[in-house]
């Protein structure tokens, strides 16, 4: 079973019960997401420490967003250095509930790069400790894992990328895709309301025309767990993001919007990710921008009967 077909989420109790069979990966956000000291000392024992910027993003270019996709080979090499291969059962978590989207970004990159069993720990480290999971030292490196379907064995060489999963839709979107989806499908903007609305005195603020505001943090319950499938389905339906039409998502740099992609996968709804996101869109003056809170309907939508 591919990662795209198995659940991309695991609850803390299940993760704890299956801990002997899993590789835990702690994902640090690309910026501070919550003030104050770390509320929990230690990590899941033996977890591999990673970060969005160094492990799940590439080097920005003049035209890319600030957190572009890395080379798939680099993703494989980085994890292979920790003894992790594409066939391992990976559990991604963040230290704080506010950082869950960083684990979603790591999930997106790893599944895109061909890792087959990747799950996000619902509720992160707080949920792990609530479920009785121990904390301790991170950073253990396992013996090198054999790579199935890949001839590379050495962590010091650069492995070729595995074939990307063919899952029947566009997972990674470019600007042209985004314009098309905004016109004919549903494009979700996962940034905070004020950023979506834009500033009246700055013409390169606001959102992609016809994008629907869909603040990613609304998917989280107060306890830091993702909301129930029924609640999330309603949330997506309210934003016209369930159906056979194409759905895409963006944010500032393809992190918070990755949580929408993850939630969509839980609901069986393919959501493509515009990884470059607003950080690239705003710089390209040829691309249209819309400001204000009102949702506009694309002129391409046919609401007549004829």
């Amino acid at each position: 079973m591919t990662a795209a077909r198995s659940s991309p989420l695991v609850d803390a109790r299940t993760a704890y019960a299956r801990r002997a069979h899993s590789v835990f990966i702690e994902v640090a956000p690309w910026r501070v997401m919550a003030p104050g000291p770390d509320p929990i000392q230690g990590s899941v024992p033996g977890a591999i420490r990673t970060s969005v910027r160094s492990d799940f993003a590439g080097r920005p270019t003049a035209t890319s967003g600030h957190l572009p996709l890395p080379e798939p080979g680099a993703v494989h090499a980085a994890l292979l250095a920790h003894g992790v291969g594409p066939a391992d059962d990976l559990v991604l978590y963040t230290r704080r509930i506010e950082e869950l989207s960083s684990a979603a970004r790591a999930w997106f990159v790893l599944t895109w790069a061909g890792f087959r069993s990747v799950r996000v720990l619902d509720g992160g480290l707080p949920a792990w400790t609530r479920a009785g999971g121990p904390t301790g030292r991170a950073g253990r490196t396992r013996p090198a894992a054999p790579l199935q379907g890949c001839s590379v064995r050495s962590p010091t060489s650069s492995p070729p990328p595995l074939p990307l999963p063919a899952d029947g839709g566009r997972r990674v979107l470019d600007a042209a895709d985004v314009l098309e989806i905004a016109d004919y499908g549903t494009l979700l903007d996962s940034r905070p309301r004020g950023v979506y609305d834009g500033a009246p005195d700055d013409p390169r603020t606001g959102h992609v025309p016809h994008a629907v505001h869909a603040h990613a943090v609304e998917l989280l319950a107060p306890d830091g767990l993702l909301r129930s499938p029924t609640e999330m389905r309603k949330w997506f339906l309210h934003r016209r993001a369930i159906g056979s039409h194409e759905v895409g998502a963006y944010c500032g740099g393809g992190v918070s919007s990755a949580l929408l992609v993850l939630a969509g996968a839980l609901l069986g709804q393919q959501v493509g990710l515009f990884v470059d996101s607003w950080s690239a869109w705003a710089r390209d003056e040829s691309l249209p921008v819309e400001r204000g809170a009102a949702l506009t309907r694309s002129a391409a939508v046919d609401t007549d009967c004829a």
């Binding site: 389905r233 007549d304 009967c305």
Partner: protein, 138 residues
């Protein structure tokens, strides 16, 4: 007579006022046909009639006397292949509080049996119901 409406063009090109006894609905032609494309289009109104009827049925069908009526939400969408020369398929996702899956299915079956609008349209506009039960059995 069971329905009696009056429709007229307005001063806004492609915008129409449809009035009945004590109410008025504003409807727009699409941008593609020269209308504003902001208010409900003709297809929206067709879907709305089925949604309204289903809300009405699910709210109180099989509710015993003295029991509270249900809270219901319906998300309806018409899906159509681009090349399709047909109206499409209407998908109605129905969230009905306080019923289990068996009751939800029974409510849908009753609606299909009773709704005259649904039965008049179903050959040209197939309707797929997706009931979501969100409560314990009644």
């Amino acid at each position: 007579m069971v329905s009696n409406l009056h429709g007229r063009t307005t001063e806004v090109r492609g915008r129409y006022a449809i009035a009945g006894p004590g109410f008025e609905i504003v409807s727009d032609g699409s941008v593609r046909s020269g209308g504003p494309g902001e208010e409900a289009g003709s297809l929206d109104l067709l879907v709305a009639s089925l949604v309204s009827c289903a809300l009405n049925a699910f709210r109180h069908d099989f509710v015993q006397g003295g029991q509270p009526e249900r809270q219901v939400e319906i998300f309806a969408r018409i899906e159509r292949r681009i090349e399709g020369d047909y109206l499409g398929t209407l998908i109605m996702e129905c969230f009905i509080d306080g019923v289990d899956h068996v009751t939800a299915d029974e409510l849908v079956a009753e609606y299909k049996k009773r709704c005259r609008i649904y039965n008049a349209l179903k050959e040209s506009l197939p309707v797929v119901f997706v009931p979501h039960a969100s409560g314990s059995p009644e």
